[in-house]
């Protein structure tokens, strides 16, 4: 993102109308042009946040098309956060597909202006034999037999799924236990590894508990976590009071 000093925008009075947008791409283009962003180098995190804020505000979050776009934006945002493998040349910008669609849609919007203008000009001339356009036909009256209605109702009822019941287990994570274990290990050794705190055959719950405990202890300043690079072993080191100061 560019210069925060200059681009401090006018987000406060953000007023938009539902009819103003003919779809999620339209809304996205609106956000992009409003902030004068570079479409080929989209700040996805920022756009995703704004998009979510607007669809919440406009209660568009019921509309599947908008939700789908919101999900897509969040996925791209997540993909951008994933580490890239070094020396990987074919890395494709996860934004590329979205940018292509936005440009294509932008082109359509320009054509819409052109077509609208052409139609307005044509409407200034009348041909012979004017017949008023028929008013929009109301929907045909519903004609239905009682048996059809009953059969339809049965079909709908048959589609109602059995309610699925979940058992909710109260917090299986044992962060306190994991904290105690880590503190015990670090009481005897200055540094240790991941295996030392989770044991040889950890369950997924053990690992999650240990991980949360480690983060919590690191936050408290009781230990320090380091890692050489992505996917390399985690080193857990006791933080001495002197260093902490």
């Amino acid at each position: 993102m560019t210069n925060p000093g200059v681009t401090a925008p006018h987000h406060a009075g953000f007023v938009v109308e539902l009819e103003q947008f003919s779809g999620p791409l339209d809304l996205l283009l609106h956000l992009i042009s409003e902030d004068e962003l570079d479409i080929t180098d989209l700040p996805i995190a920022r756009i995703a946040d704004q998009f979510l804020a607007v669809i919440n505000e406009l209660k568009l979050n019921q509309a599947a098309d908008y939700l789908e776009m919101a999900a897509r934006l969040l996925r791209i945002k997540a993909q951008l956060l994933l580490p890239r493998r070094l020396g990987e040349d074919e890395w494709e910008d996860p934004r590329a597909e979205l940018v292509r669609r936005l440009l294509e849609y932008q082109q359509i919007r320009e054509l819409v202006d052109w077509l609208g203008h052409a139609a307005a000009r044509r409407a200034e001339q009348f041909g012979r034999g004017f017949r008023p356009e028929p008013p929009e036909a109301p929907p045909a009256p519903l004609v239905i037999e009682l048996n059809d209605l009953l059969a339809a109702a049965e079909r709908v009822i048959a589609l109602i799924p059995e309610p699925v019941l979940h058992r909710v287990v109260p917090r299986p994570l044992d962060v306190e236990g994991a904290t105690a274990r880590i503190e015990a290990v670090l009481a005897t050794r200055e540094r240790c590894g991941w295996r030392d705190v989770v044991g040889d055959r950890p369950t997924i719950v053990d690992m999650l508990s240990a991980f949360i405990a480690l983060l919590e202890l690191a936050k408290r300043g009781a230990l320090r976590l380091s890692q050489q690079g992505p996917f390399t072993p985690i080193v857990i080191q006791r933080e001495s009071p002197r260093e902490a100061a």
């Binding site: 962003l37 359509i108 320009e110 200034e124 009348f126």
Partner: protein, 182 residues
């Protein structure tokens, strides 16, 4: 005006829609299309030179008498004729996609617009601006849509070639605002 031009004038006056050169040629089969073209030019020039309230316009691959622009307001106000209903942005978007991608299936229209377009396409078919032109290859042989002569007519176009070429559009959005010098 030549006898053929007067005959053409009468036929065009009688018709409530644009007539193609092919259709007009059936009035006088011996004359041939070249003569019809010449006759049409003769009428058009005569109406232009004599300063009439109507003009002969080439539209939707045919020819039609239309009132001159400057009288639209008065005719509209008096309700002798009314301007057609405006097309919604959704309808125009869909028309643009169909016009440029035809023959095109619904899925592709949905994809480009980012929203379900079935209802809009149905409306356009109802208004006679779009129609099924063929079926596609592949699963379910989807219906493919194209624009109709009526589409050209409501836009006042002679033919599809009058639509702007895609290269002429300024596709990119405005670049980011210039920031202060670094």
């Amino acid at each position: 005006m030549s006898p053929l031009a007067k005959l053409l004038e009468a036929a065009l006056f009688a018709s409530s829609r644009p007539l193609t050169v092919g259709e007009l040629s059936t009035l006088e089969p011996e004359a041939g299309e070249t003569a019809v073209h010449a006759g049409l030019a003769e009428i058009r020039d005569a109406y232009a030179a004599e300063d009439h309230g109507v003009e002969l316009v080439e539209i939707a691959q045919g020819w039609q008498f239309l009132t001159r622009r400057e009288y639209a307001e008065a005719i509209d106000r008096a309700q002798f004729a009314l301007r057609p209903r405006r097309l919604s942005p959704a309808a125009l978007e869909t028309l643009a996609i169909v016009a440029y991608r035809q023959p095109v299936g619904r899925v592709e229209v949905d994809e480009i617009r980012g929203v379900d377009s079935g209802a809009v396409i149905d409306k356009l078919i109802e208004r006679g601006l779009v129609d099924v032109v063929t079926r596609g290859e592949g699963l379910g042989r989807p219906l493919l849509y194209g624009t109709t002569p009526q589409f050209l007519e409501i836009l006042g176009l002679r033919d599809l070639d009058e639509l702007p070429r895609l290269e002429e559009l300024s596709v990119a959005l405005r670049p980011p605002a210039p920031t202060e010098p670094e």
